[in-house]
């Protein structure tokens, strides 16, 4: 009889030793996004094409503002981690390091910009 769970045996394996945690982080963020994104698509799609006053009114709604902020934080983290894996698969050396820094920064800047916009709109 095995006393160790499959997860316990997987932790720490591989050259980076952190793949299990990475995979679990992606699993958690994907499930969170799966619950949030369809509703957000409806809210965003309804606001798109409206006047500025209507857009501001739509995103000033507490539910819309909080959902948008959550999607920015969770979604941009999910993007940065996924894009990092893609970069690590296809590039090496200095190019890899610069690209990983670039996508991580891009994701952070996008999230920060979106949250700044929400604060100005909703508060």
């Amino acid at each position: 009889m095995r006393y160790l769970t499959p997860r316990k045996r997987a932790i720490g394996k591989g050259s980076a030793h952190t793949g299990t945690h990475h995979h679990w982080s992606m699993t958690m963020s994907s499930v969170a996004l799966a619950f949030m994104v369809p509703t957000w698509m409806y809210l965003f799609g309804s606001a798109l094409g409206q006047s500025r006053a209507d857009v501001v009114a739509a995103f000033a709604q507490p539910f819309t503002a909080i959902l948008t902020a959550l999607i920015l934080v969770v979604g941009m983290r999910h993007f940065a981690m996924g894009a990092t894996i893609m970069i690590e698969d296809y590039s090496r050396g200095t190019a890899r390091k610069i690209l990983v820094m670039f996508v991580t920064s891009l994701a952070t800047v996008i999230a920060a910009t979106g949250i700044y916009a929400l604060i100005r709109i909703a508060l």
């Binding site: 857009v55 920015l72 916009a117 709109i121």
Partner: protein, 132 residues
Amino acid sequence: MAEVKSSSPRRVERPLSPHLQIYRPQLTAITSILTRITGNALIVGVLLAVWWLAAAAISEDAFARADAVATSWFGDLVFLGSAWAIWYHYLAGLRHLYFDAGHGLDIPTAEKLGWGMILGSVVLTVLTVIIV
């Protein structure tokens, strides 16, 4: 690629795995790489959406500029593409969770799920365009 330097006697000529180009394209491989492509391409739609939202927060002029792009044919194309990419990536993620739980890994089931993702993402995109 597999050059053996005489100065490093420990390096051995290892067999290379068959190259990607000699394989006939398979549904499972294509649906897998499309997951990565859709996920990463979504950054374009996110950039446009966040620019548009930030412009709405800042000023009338900024919003007029961003809204002109976001509601142009280019904006329509980006957001229509993003809607499909979201749904495709969404179904691929669900399939990933199902695979992770140890189900559906035999080839007939995996291929059925692959077609389900392709057709499902198109149907959901059409529904999104109708509803929104």
